[in-house]
């Protein structure tokens, strides 16, 4: 099951002049969070161009960013600002047209489709706006999905799924189908699924978009707790209120990082 992920990991620090100062803050320890560690995500002058008819859309036009372990960032911006493209790239669903992307030591920029799959499987957890649970599978089986693709044994996978479900407060719902759960519960299942194989990075795309305010608040509290426990979280949202849960906000416009608030 181990695909080779031994791509060149050259921790060349990007030129400081053009670099977003994401990781420049002090190793804040005064709010009780664990000290941010080594860089988990490194983007260096990343461009993404799409052909559209005979035009070329420059969805990302030179993004440089560094995210360290256990940081919590919100990416914000109007539609068309490039935040979705950014999330797709960060999620290894797409490759940059030019530039470099190193995720947890693996240079993703030129990986094959299979290698990208493997990286997503080992290093990333996705949380979507519309939950995206697989309707014919039970809660248990949904949570087990990444473990299944990692080739876990049935017993180990069952145990891990139960632990993870308890971690998000769903220990008693394992036998249900997604359709039998409320929106908030479904999103918790999705979080459990993202956590099951214990990846370092969680990517959340408008995770509260389909939830009412109170449920959304509880969901954000859950993410915040996970961050406190050491997960690196990148959240895409257009709601300022939600973005405030993160410790830093990256504002995007026209495929570029416009400004950065906070320090993740």
């Amino acid at each position: 099951m181990t695909t080779q992920l031994t791509d060149t990991v050259t921790p060349q620090p990007p030129p400081t002049a053009t670099r977003a100062q994401a990781a420049s803050g002090p190793a804040a320890g005064d709010d009780g969070r664990p000290a941010p560690g080594s860089p988990v995500i490194v983007l260096e002058d990343v461009h993404k161009h799409y052909p559209m008819g005979d035009q070329v859309v420059r969805a990302l036009a030179g993004v440089t960013l560094e995210v360290r372990r256990a940081q919590f960032w919100a990416i914000m911006g109007p539609s068309g600002s490039g935040k979705s493209t950014m999330l797709n790239l960060l999620g290894c669903l797409d490759r940059p047209t030019s530039g470099r992307y190193v995720l947890n030591g693996h240079d993703v920029s030129d990986m094959t489709d299979d290698q990208l799959s493997e990286i997503r499987l080992r290093e990333l957890g996705f949380i979507f706006q519309s939950f995206n649970l697989i309707p014919q599978l039970t809660v248990q089986e949904n949570i087990e999905l990444p473990l299944y693709y990692q080739g876990w044994s049935a017993a180990a996978s069952r145990e891990r799924a139960q632990q993870t479900a308890e971690r998000v407060g769903l220990g008693d719902r394992l036998g249900h189908r997604p359709a039998e759960l409320s929106g908030g519960q479904q999103q918790r299942v999705a979080v459990a699924r993202a956590l099951a194989s214990d990846p370092q990075v969680l990517l959340a795309d408008e995770p509260t978009g389909n939830l009412d305010t109170a449920t959304g608040q509880r969901m954000m509290q859950l993410l915040s707790d996970l961050n406190t426990q050491g997960k690196t979280i990148i959240l895409v949202t257009h709601e300022a209120e939600i973005a405030r849960w993160a410790h830093g906000q990256i504002h995007m416009r026209d495929g570029k990082i416009e400004r950065i608030e906070g320090n993740g």
Partner: protein, 421 residues
Amino acid sequence: MALIKIIRDVRLGAKTLLLHKLRSLLTMLGVVFGVASVIAMLAVGEGASREALDRIRMLGSTNIMLESVKPTDTPDDRGQRTRVLDYGLRYEDERRIREHLDHVQRTAPVKEVRRSAWLGERNKELRVVGTTWAWFELVPRPIIAGRILGERDMDRTSNVVVLTEHGARRLLATEQSIGSRIRIVDGYYEVIGIVQNEEASGETQIPDSRVDAYIPLPVARERFTDFDVRITAGSIERERGELHRIIVQVDDEDNVETTAAAIQRMLELNHPNGDFTVQVPLQLLRQREEQQRIWNWTLASVAGISLLVGGIGIMNIMLASVTERTREIGVRRAIGAKKRQIVSQFLIETLLLAGIGGLVGIAVGPLLADRIESLSGIPTIVPTWAIALSVGISMTVGVVFGLYPAARAANLDPIVALRHE
């Protein structure tokens, strides 16, 4: 470990298919009927060919059949229908074949006449064959009662007769009739035995299918002479013919064809008008086998078309399923499923549909063949290889028609698939 994984994958596939029970069932039906009809058609073909070949084998695969043929009328003959037509195989031909050809083991000369016969008050026209004891070696049939002609009967004073089952029925003779006398025209013959005979079937000419009684050839020659008078539709035909048929037995199947050719050449010398035919059952057998093989495949191909339709049905449903589950595919890919894992997921589902359909078809096929047999009387035989073939075909159908939808699923762009509503 790998097996456990496969079982898990199959269970998951089955679970997905069970979500749409009716749809899966209908999809499977296509394969069920396809496989069942392939099996049934092969069974019909196999039954028919087995029967035909058995019939031909009854003629003996080492035998050569020579027959007298009446020359076709030439325009000159039209005016003089009353002249004597002299044609056919001669006693001399039989002797030459027996004595001069290396591989010939035995010959059975045959003289056929139709004559009135009486057993007590019962009177019927019988088809009487004058032949030698060799006949019963070349056309072996179970003896029902008494004995058959032997070497000691080959004398023109041995007035004995062996009835066939059919002849016995016509004269109402039974086993008790052994030893009693029947009268044929003006001569009396002692019934010494009754033998079974094969009924005629299809286009295959079986030598004893139209025989009621056997008498020793020397007796037949003496009593009935070589002249025959037939009155047909207002005209009188006088014919002279010595033998109607000669059956030649060759020592080995390998020598049948060369011997037949030698006989043909030999006879042509003495019969320039071509008043004979040489038939080789072995050749007939080979021709029939070839014909039957083509016919069987034709039947199976027609049935195969329904299997093809079944396969297209599967493909159709799987394509619909891929479209319906685009989101799911996107999610699986985002989580980290590789393309080939998506392919195998969908392929397992099609293989399940095709495989289960195929198994049911294998169960239904022989029943269908039975039904055909009982309704139409056509004998059917389900050959084992037909079952193996059907399993192979249905799995192939699964793979062939599953691969495209599966590949289509795997090649979806996960970003696009995730956005799919």
